[in-house]
């Protein structure tokens, strides 16, 4: 499986061993972000790093887990309730209402992720984008071109 290296700046302690082992110079950048165009995904940098600050991100993902239809429908009822709450909170004043608004969105996002929208590469996500693109949405069309299917 093809991979590329990313550096977690919160963990990086600038020991710079990655620079010594990188065969292409991808790890040596002025903004500390590993150059994806140069990275071959060999993983030497991740192995050498004493601070465990480098991980290898796959470019291909396995098919996402399937969910039962009844489960998706039960989750959807809760998502609808959460988006309604988000919408109501948006019309109310003060920071407390903002927090409720944000919190409801976060919960709804987690619930849709666990009911069929985990991977942007999935068939389900593409089907969703296709629906929007057919209705003339340009952003959806652009995303369909950018993200390749894995199913």
């Amino acid at each position: 499986m093809k991979k590329f290296a990313v550096r977690n700046l919160r963990l990086c302690t600038k020991e710079c061993l990655c620079l010594y082992v990188c065969p292409t110079g991808a790890a040596d950048t002025e903004n500390s972000i590993i150059d994806v165009a140069k990275c071959t995904g060999c993983g030497h940098c991740a192995e050498a790093c004493v601070s465990k600050a480098i991980s290898l991100i796959p470019t291909e993902f396995p098919q996402q887990q399937k969910h039962d239809e009844n489960l998706v429908s039960a989750m959807n009822t809760l998502v609808v309730s959460k988006v309604t709450a988000e919408h109501t909170a948006a019309a109310l004043p003060d920071r407390f209402a903002r927090a409720l608004q944000r919190s409801n969105r976060i919960m709804a996002e987690d619930l849709v992720r666990e009911s069929g929208y985990m991977l942007p590469q999935s068939k389900n996500a593409r089907k969703f984008l296709k629906g929007l693109a057919e209705a003339g949405n340009e952003r959806a069309e652009k995303l369909l071109k950018l993200i390749k299917s894995n199913e």
Partner: protein, 221 residues
């Protein structure tokens, strides 16, 4: 009898009601709870609770009529599509697909803005929705997830249930305390599970999902 507030997650222990979940009968004084008793929502120790004094200020009159939300089918669908987009934006971000994440974010915003602002919205309406979620929607969904051994869905539901209960107790306090609830306090939201914390210093990790405190968002006015 008195009420006690969990300073970690905002759960309220009501001496009158006891606590069915932890087998504490009605009319049990907080003092007489066993020392190893912990918060049923976030697991905080007994010492993390403080007595809840509810001042009677800016109280919403009890007879206020609660208007149900009147969203059309297409409005609900736009809001839901917006959530799918902001969720997929996060997934793209995790895969370091920054351009794709940015487009998904704009798409989420575009879809959300198609729905006009709610009219006649109230905190009481939010509370009503939550009561329905806690008594019906969440238990039903949890049962379905259990039956299908869908661990991911069950995990999301367990977190959502905890956070929803926190909303419930915060709304209860807000109804009684009004704007004093957040006065001179910081409002934090956990971006992973939606946990809300209102006080000076946030706990070092989220009591619902264990995300570290540096991930918490601070809600600005």
């Amino acid at each position: 009898m008195k009420k006690y507030l969990c300073t970690i997650c905002g759960h309220i222990y009501d001496e009158d009601a006891g606590e069915e979940k932890t087998d504490i009968p009605e009319k049990t004084a907080f003092e007489s709870l066993p020392e190893r008793w912990t918060c049923p929502v976030c697991g905080a120790e007994k010492s993390k609770f403080r007595i809840l004094i509810i001042p009677k200020t800016d109280a919403v009159p009890a007879h206020t009529e609660v208007k149900p939300s009147l969203l059309s089918v297409s409005e609900v669908s736009n809001l839901k599509d917006s959530v799918i987009c902001s969720s997929l934006a996060k997934s793209c971000e995790k895969q370091f697909k920054h351009d794709e994440a940015a487009i998904y974010c704009s798409l989420a915003k575009e879809l959300k803005e198609k729905v006009p602002h709610a009219e006649g919205a109230s905190f009481a309406a939010l509370q009503k929705g939550i009561e329905h979620e806690i008594s019906s929607i969440i238990p039903t969904a949890k049962k379905v997830a259990e039956n299908h051994h869908d661990r991911g869905a069950l995990r999301a539901l367990v977190w959502a249930e905890k956070v929803t209960r926190i909303h419930h107790s915060l709304l209860e306090r807000h109804a009684a305390e009004g704007p004093a609830l957040i006065k001179d306090k910081t409002v934090y939201v956990c971006p992973v599970c939606g946990f809300i914390f209102i006080d000076e210093h946030a706990p070092s990790k989220c009591p619902v999902c264990s995300a570290p405190d540096w991930k918490f968002e601070i809600v600005e006015a």
